[in-house]
Symmetry: C2
Subunit: 415 residues, 2 copies
Amino acid sequence: MMRQIQKQVAAARSASKRLAIASAEQKNESLDAIAHALRDQKSLILEQNRKDLADGKKAGLSTALMDRLKLTEQRLEAMAGGLEEVTRLPDPVGEVLEVTDGQKNLRIEKVRVPLGVVGMIFEARPNVTVDAAGLALKSGNSIILRGSSSALRSNSVLVDVIRRALADTSLPPEAVQLVTDPGRETVRELITCKGGVDVVIPRGGPGLIRRVVREATVPVLETGAGNCHIYVDRTADPGMARNIVINAKTDRPGVCNAAETLLVHQEWAEKHLGSMCEELTLHQVEIRGCSRTRQHFPQSVPATATDWETEYLEQVLAVKVVDSLEDAMDHIDRYSTGHSEAIITEDDAAARRFLQGVDAAAVYRNASTRFTDGSQFGLGAEIGISTQKLHARGPMGLRELTSHKYRILGSGQIR
Amino acid sequence: MMRQIQKQVAAARSASKRLAIASAEQKNESLDAIAHALRDQKSLILEQNRKDLADGKKAGLSTALMDRLKLTEQRLEAMAGGLEEVTRLPDPVGEVLEVTDGQKNLRIEKVRVPLGVVGMIFEARPNVTVDAAGLALKSGNSIILRGSSSALRSNSVLVDVIRRALADTSLPPEAVQLVTDPGRETVRELITCKGGVDVVIPRGGPGLIRRVVREATVPVLETGAGNCHIYVDRTADPGMARNIVINAKTDRPGVCNAAETLLVHQEWAEKHLGSMCEELTLHQVEIRGCSRTRQHFPQSVPATATDWETEYLEQVLAVKVVDSLEDAMDHIDRYSTGHSEAIITEDDAAARRFLQGVDAAAVYRNASTRFTDGSQFGLGAEIGISTQKLHARGPMGLRELTSHKYRILGSGQIR
């Protein structure tokens, strides 16, 4: 007997062929219809979400997880508005990326096409269901969603609303599939379904991502952790450094583009590190300092080796004094997760060296790492932030959900 | 104790940092130096190759494998000439792909960068050692080569010549590493070395590729088999169809872009299939025909189900009569490996439908599938042909060995 998930993959695959040739208008109409349905069905959606929340409370989910799980009228409206924003983005499919005059007057066109079937494995946040479905549909892809069991009722009602909305449009409802079996085995089936699924995107904690990377035979778009550094160089403007560090650490500490470690050039540290740490403390940031940091700010907690590799995702900052730009870059090279790394400097040569030498998706001069984000980068919306180097790196929008094919037009050419 | 392969990865990684900032001139000088050394050391290289050949003969390698293993003066010269060709290709590194005006006047530049460390796992052909090293170096990457044990002496002497040539240039010899331990375990170490190796490219038979895809945690650029189809539509020009089919099947049957299955519209088959099969037979092609093919050409061997999925790589062609374009596309959808698929037709609407609907790296109208090749596509040289959709699809040249980073230039911006 064919397993449920294989049926879903086959249905998604078949739907993807219709999506691949859908016009921008058809896709936009469908997204609008989904946005409308989300608003229309909000009581139904919130009711199911309340049941997930009640179960979550009984199961003792953390406050942070409960907050991620929770839907509100406002959050639903943001999801609907997000879909409408995606309708305003250009359709990536069909774009001719290059034309080459091949040998013997062959015309070789490189054309953007959808990936086909996208598998998305994610934890908690039910808004991902709607965001990911919207981006997948606009880029001409089917999507198979596998959320966590704690959000199963919320995800189910959302997918149900999406599919019923699609049924009244020209796009096939089978383009959006939800895996409802909570067993771990379904994840394995999805990520090893070569030929059926074209890419899997894991979004969640490091455990989930490691498992997907290890077990997948389908190509993975890895969205990773952000152990982001800010290096305050010898010549950094003190006011600018202060603003950027406080913003990168405290604006939203729970997200991957927040700063986790501050590296400070010793000369700058002599003059300004003490007062900067004091100000961070006033912003409720706990300082974990190296021995030299503690000379400037004795109140700081002594940093241990694990602090340098920890993505705190809370109001904690590791601080280390370094002798030089090279020392800062060596530290980053060792501990960076390749997400976002910044230098604060007035020295053009130092900036150039840092921006060229640091290996990360986003390298900054004199700005907060918090800008690594699809909407900030002008992508409109993002399906995650890739920390791998293959295919996509940094915020992934519509174009990152596409591939290309070569279309070769001849008049009888042979080799 | 650190294992040999981990040492090699660490050395390659460290060298890749120097390569990433090398100028085009430095890289070209190094390639020229290698080309020179290959010519200079040809007796030494051929001597080591003869030992591999002698062992291969004893071990009973097939004629095809022996031919792939064999180096000659002419083949060495082609390898050296290939490197010189790569020097004439533009340096992909540092290219600014896009500039975005981000929020608050942030300047966001998307810049092309090397991947870092490329792992290459390949069978037999020692020329891959030189070709891959040349493309990796020019694109600013280190490369770790793991060839088959039957070519170990040939690969060793080639890597030795390359590294000694690099030692006299400004690029680090450690950028090119050869894994000399023939155990299967070394492959596993290489393809699970996340953080050390940025991508692995397997080139070889389906067994090798399946194993790498299954076991790798490092992202894989899959170079796949080519079960390529030619569909002769109702309106195909008979002379053109004949030329293309004969060329695609017989020009070089052992390569992945050769045709393996011919699909013929029934109306065209009525008039022309018999004579086409006869002509193919004159070109020493064995026809494996479906029942309707055999009505037109009774001498053909009856095709079985496995014929449709077989990449013969020899002078054998499976032939099937279909009722319509849609039937042809369904057959291709089922059996295609996503490499190269062609339609021969005078009908623009049919061509459009085929080119849009068939999911493959290269889709052709009225030309031989044999053109799917880096040099034919104007890439200059290729490191393989990707049949996956992520990152690279179709022939992979220098640009496919690069990634990008975002370089963000601010003046104190915070969110």
